[in-house]
């Protein structure tokens, strides 16, 4: 019998949930207006007062909060409670600039544990499970986030933290771990490590994994499930909102349930900021409804996804979000159309390329943006006949064009032509001279 951790909330009817969200939204907006000068100033600039929020539709009138806003208020400028009420600090180090610092009250920690217990239950977890937490412990939210949720559930926590692959495998075997929590790439690394130790992970009691903190593909999920012999569950979170526990896949593995009673979710057009209807692809934006120490209003995540509000077969009514499709940082706007490198990747995977190496080159010719997609020719794709190669080129072009909705030029290039930096390829070259 599968458990829904907070049945009352997770399967609440839409009208009741909307009512609850509106009540909480009004409270949180009133609170930040009163307690956080920065939010007050931004709302005043936008000409909106807390009492203007009369329905959830009024959300769109509130100004966005961005990563830059958080940096500008480093370290504690956006906290909404006095420091004596803050019981925990976490921080994430960005690749550029200052850290983003977040705080938690005692109640925030409790809510966080709740949503993480929900996440574990989504993966089929119960008090009988042994949960190996191989996320890092420390300023990063991963380790402690899963830890508190697992304890609340009553499961047995193995707080091993990240690294030391040999010991991870040893403990997984000796302690009979049933659920693994780490990044998807580390899960694959562990699978390979086990093979080197002569251990077949598929024969261990391990049966599920909750994987997050980095985007991963459908293929990677398949590979993890196959190599470890488990169900791999995609989880989503970010420290600015709470940490892990913002959304989780259930065993249906068909989108991640957003825990909407705590986190109000929207998808907006990354270019215009306009709110998009369900089913349309755009940037995820979250408003925390219950956070005390570090509430955020319409926080721009830069993560690309799609919302699906239809109820799920698992019994949860909470809206689902698509697995992260990319980052707005990688987004290109070509002839007014939003283009994500991941769309090119999906098209190449459909053609049968298992590990596509590609690059997008954007140029402006006669005042018109031109997109050229360079694709490295792997051995699987290479044919000795010109006709077949030209055919391949046009198949790739058609796939990409039908996915993007704009015309592209495909150029087949030799392997290793596309520069790789630290394993990650440089995907986009923008040659447009915007001053020209």
């Amino acid at each position: 019998m599968l458990l829904i951790w907070n049945l009352e909330y997770e399967s609440m009817s839409r009208p009741r949930l909307t009512e609850l969200q509106l009540k909480r939204l009004r409270e949180i907006v009133a609170k930040v207006y009163a307690k956080v000068p920065y939010y007050r100033r931004k709302m005043e600039e936008a000409g909106i007062k807390p009492e203007d929020i009369r329905s959830l539709d009024d959300l769109v009138h509130l100004p966005f909060t961005t990563k830059e806003d958080l940096r500008e208020n480093y370290p504690f400028g956006l906290f909404a409670v006095p420091m004596e009420e803050v019981v925990r600090i976490h921080a994430s180090s960005g690749t550029t600039g200052k850290m983003t610092v977040v705080g938690y009250t005692r109640n925030d920690i409790k809510v966080w544990a709740q949503v993480m217990a929900r996440t574990l239950a989504c993966a089929g977890g119960t008090a009988n499970d042994r949960i190996q937490v191989a996320y890092g412990y420390g300023l990063f939210t991963g380790g402690l986030g899963v830890h508190y949720g697992a304890e609340m559930m009553g499961a047995t926590v193995i707080p091993i933290s990240g690294g030391n692959t040999r010991r991870q495998i040893q403990i997984m075997k000796d302690f009979a771990t049933t659920i693994l929590a780490c990044t998807p790439s580390y899960a694959l690394y562990l699978a390979e490590g086990a093979a080197e130790e002569g251990i077949d992970p598929r024969e261990l009691p391990l049966r599920a994994g909750i994987f997050g903190a980095e985007p991963w593909s459908v293929n990677m999920r398949r590979e993890i499930e196959e190599k470890l012999g488990i169900t791999a569950i995609d989880i989503y979170g970010l420290s600015e909102v709470i940490g892990p526990g913002v959304a989780s896949e259930c065993l249906e593995q068909n989108g991640l349930h957003v825990f909407e009673d705590h986190f109000l979710v929207e998808v907006v057009d990354p270019g215009t900021g306009k709110q998009l209807p369900p089913g349309e692809k755009g940037e995820l934006v979250f408003t925390t409804l219950t956070k005390e120490a570090f509430p955020v209003i319409r926080y721009r995540t830069r993560d690309i996804s799609i919302l699906y509000p239809e109820p799920c077969a698992c019994g949860r009514t909470m809206t689902r979000m698509h697995r992260i499709l990319g980052r707005t940082d990688d987004m290109l706007i070509i002839r007014g159309v939003n283009v994500f490198p991941t769309q090119i990747e999906s098209a190449l995977l459909e053609i049968g390329e298992t590990e596509p190496h590609y690059m997008l080159v954007v140029d402006r010719q006669k005042k018109l943006d031109e997109l050229e997609v360079w694709v490295e020719v792997s051995e699987e794709l290479f044919s000795d006949e010109v006709r077949k190669m030209e055919n391949l080129e046009s198949r790739i072009r058609q796939k990409i064009e039908s996915s993007l909705g704009i015309g592209v030029r495909v150029k087949l290039v030799e392997p290793k032509t596309i520069p790789r930096s630290e394993g990650k390829a440089k995907r986009v070259v923008d040659r447009r001279d915007i001053y020209g």
Partner: protein, 142 residues
Amino acid sequence: MVKLKQISVFLENKSGRLSELTRVLGEHEINIRALSIADTEDFGILRLIVNDPEKAWKVLKERGFTVSGTRIIAVEIPDVPGGLAGVLEILEAHAINIEYIYAFVGQRRGNAVVVFRVEDIDNAVKILQEKGFHLLDGEEIY
């Protein structure tokens, strides 16, 4: 064995790649017996018959080239007017599709040698041998 190993390499149309490739083969003492390049606006496909296909395959892969292998036949053709036409007519009469042809470097016993890539290679071998054509054996090349 008259079904010979041909090596094909994907080449972008940019200067220096062909000379780099031939230099790599030269450094490893691999001799080119025949070659052809089919090219389009963007890329080319280089096809090679060499004295040591396995070694060529290995060294080219090591140098990051995309390589594939195909079987072809090399037919000795009398050096007289209409010599090639005779072979083509036979293949056509038996509905054997030719993907491409190209010639060997130099002559053999005063005859030209032409490489054929056909769809039904076994059938082509049988028919041409029945008609008395000499197909080069691996041992004559490697």
